[in-house]
């Protein structure tokens, strides 16, 4: 169990504790809608390849969830999964998919 103070999507009583699944707010440079560089924990890395793209739309009857996911390979060799919250335009990194 990790205790993190970063800005995430969780709210309420457990806001201090972030599950490894919890999305983490990040900055993504995507001038044409597709990520070209990501900044995670103050470090910017260019995207080498977009491996996969998929969209999740749920709960249109309550609080609509609409996310566009990208599975990326960075120039550092790391693979990350990020998504754009289509309702707000904010980018998040998904800890685990």
């Amino acid at each position: 169990m990790r205790v993190c103070r970063r800005e995430g999507m969780s709210s309420g009583r457990c806001r201090g504790i972030v599950s490894p699944y919890e999305p983490e707010r990040i900055e993504v440079y995507a001038p044409k809608g597709r990520p070209e560089a990501v900044r995670v924990r103050k470090r910017q890395t260019r995207v080498r390849e977009v491996l996969n793209v998929w969209r999740i739309d749920e709960e249109w009857w309550r609080r609509p969830v609409s996310r566009l996911y990208f599975s990326l390979e960075l120039t550092s060799g790391a693979r990350v999964t990020v998504f754009e919250d289509l309702a707000t335009g904010a980018w998040y990194r998904q800890g685990w998919v």
């Binding site: 599950s19 999740i56 998904q94």
Partner: protein, 393 residues
Amino acid sequence: MRVACIAIPHFPLQVEKQLCRGLEGPLVIGGTPFDQAPVIDCSDQAGERGVRPGMPLSEASHLCPEAAFLPMREGGYDDAWEQVLYELGAFALRIESAQVGLAYLDVTRSSRFSKGEGRLGAALVAMLDRVCGLAAGVGMGNSRFLARQAAYRASPVLVIPPGTERRFLAPLPLDVLPLDEEIKERLALLGLTTLGRLAALTCAHLSSQFGRAGRSLWEMAGGIDETGRIPKRPRRREVEKEAVADAPLETMDRIEQAVGGSLDAACAELAKMGRSCRKIRIALSLQSGDRLECSLVMKRATDAKRGMLERVMSALSSLPIESAITGFRLSLSGLSRTGEQEGLFKGRPGLAQKLEGVKEYLSARYGEPTLFRVEEGEKDARLPERRYVFREV
């Protein structure tokens, strides 16, 4: 060095009784009376009639005709013994197998964790009875020889504290020493019949009579520790199964059937070890002479065949298999104890109490609940963060 000796008397017989319930009366293990093979083990009732391990089976049948003769298991009793050694690994890192049914453990450090050697010995006996269904004697002393003699006389635990070795060994006959017949005869002629009498002599006296053997005799009789340490036992890290197809496997159905058969055997082995695996590697030999290999890591350790088979078949379907498969090798690694985390707090009230203390401290410091248990939420949720939820402890 403190040594614990685990002696399991009549190991083959105890294993047979475990596997075939209801075996009663005199028993002889080794084969039928007509086989030209030696007796491997026999029950006490057969022993009372003069049957001894090592004697021909035909002779044993003459001495005890009403005994039940059991053939030796295929592969002997090594598998069962390996299982015992594996379980003993929970008590000590340094384990030496002297023979089937006799093992030494270096318990110099581990006895501290068990609040004394007596308790550690009792825990060993209880574990062997509970997990393996075997009755064992445990002896503890400063050397392998001392611990072994203690184990043979234990009921079921006998600890020889440092400084009392000579007193324990003194009444024992010389037969317990690993000696040549010639030396035994000479000692008998000198009127030396017990270890106490032998230890009363000086090292110089025995060395002048028997040379180097005399010195080691004197040391053993006095309970002096040997120099050789018990080596670390390598832990088993993989379960491997290899299969060669009778006829080349051409369709996915046949491949699935063959892989399923091997996984059955591998899962049975995992279950026997009480382990789950996290990684699977499969290497294929193709009819064209090529070899293909793929590895997959599962989300969580498992010992269930179905899940493994699904993952393996999905991985195989993405491989460029261009000719029929003639054989394959499956390796399951990343082994961990099954259900280890679930049982972390079970039966350990001390640990649960510590957790309660931590919870109170964190609540006092942060003023809000800070300790949560991670539980499975919506298992098939599309949003990953909903698959697990935090519940207040």
